[in-house]
Symmetry: C2
Subunit: 173 residues, 2 copies
């Protein structure tokens, strides 16, 4: 499949940002391609278009499916898998953010809880330090809880909240 320069640029940029977003370049490029593609693509088309190994496509797509960002469809009389990406950008971002929270925040909360628990039995560590760990845990938990509540809000409500911006301050004042 031939890419237009504009699309190519998007895909390349996605690939460059991949590292910072915690996924490999291939995964990001494939996701960008499927997200932009007007119709579902086969693994072979993807490999050819992006010039990456066929096996790389398999592995990457598997990861994208685990993220629940890509799904499979089929064409009558064709055994090949046709892959398509979630098109609703709101959902895409939400899925990515959930994933990052799960991988980056939750394990830390877990560890900090254990550290705080350890602290009860530990008489070497200065109180001041234990308190610092505890307050860090508390704050992260609070942020984390807020995120979950925001996520649980219906989309129109959240949109309204976002559009209000700092004006909410007046309302909740």
């Amino acid at each position: 499949m031939k890419l237009t320069p504009t699309v190519q640029r998007c895909i390349l940029h996605w690939g460059e940002m991949a590292g910072r977003w915690g996924v490999s370049r291939s995964v990001a490029q494939i996701h960008a391609l499927l997200y932009l593609a007007p119709q579902p693509l086969t693994a072979d088309e993807i490999a050819e278009t992006l010039a990456v190994a066929r096996s790389n496509v398999s592995v990457s797509i598997k990861e994208l499916q685990q993220w629940d960002l890509v799904s499979v469809t089929h064409v009558l009389g064709d055994r090949r898998d046709y892959f398509q990406a979630r098109k609703d950008i709101w959902e895409v971002i939400a899925v990515i953010m959930d994933g990052r929270k799960k991988r980056e925040i939750d394990p830390t909360v877990q560890t900090l809880r254990e550290c705080v628990a350890d602290g009860k039995r530990d008489h070497e560590t200065p109180e001041e330090v234990k308190e610092r760990i505890a307050s860090m845990l508390e704050f992260i938990e609070e942020l984390s809880g807020w995120y979950e509540q925001i996520r649980a809000m219906p989309r129109p409500t959240l949109l309204k909240l976002m559009r209000m911006g700092t004006k909410v301050a007046k309302v909740i004042g």
Copy 2:
């Protein structure tokens, strides 16, 4: 400096999460150490405590200073630099989030704007695809703008907002 097991565990965990957070292991460990340490430490103490090369400490501390997470103090009659970390966890997290937004979001917004601009001149790319790029840009800009407004809110207001959780829905209904 000898670390208590609880503190050691925190520091090791920080180091493990480092990769996912976009910094090197050393930077994360040094930050954790300075954050928890009751008093400022010299570069030599840090190197010895964490068993990393002295030069590594220099480079890492420089990075932490650029992030504005670590500062220098001095002791009368001692030429050495004593390093200390920001202790206010709220600020620490805010600084980190700002940095990540700057490195992970802003360049993408920039590129997407250019892609959308390119699209005007580009008659190869299907309209559907151009629209998808545009709506992605729009949504990311909206999220990004919201983040900035939230950041601009005074801390007590933000705290109140967080504690309200989904209850804001009723107020802004």
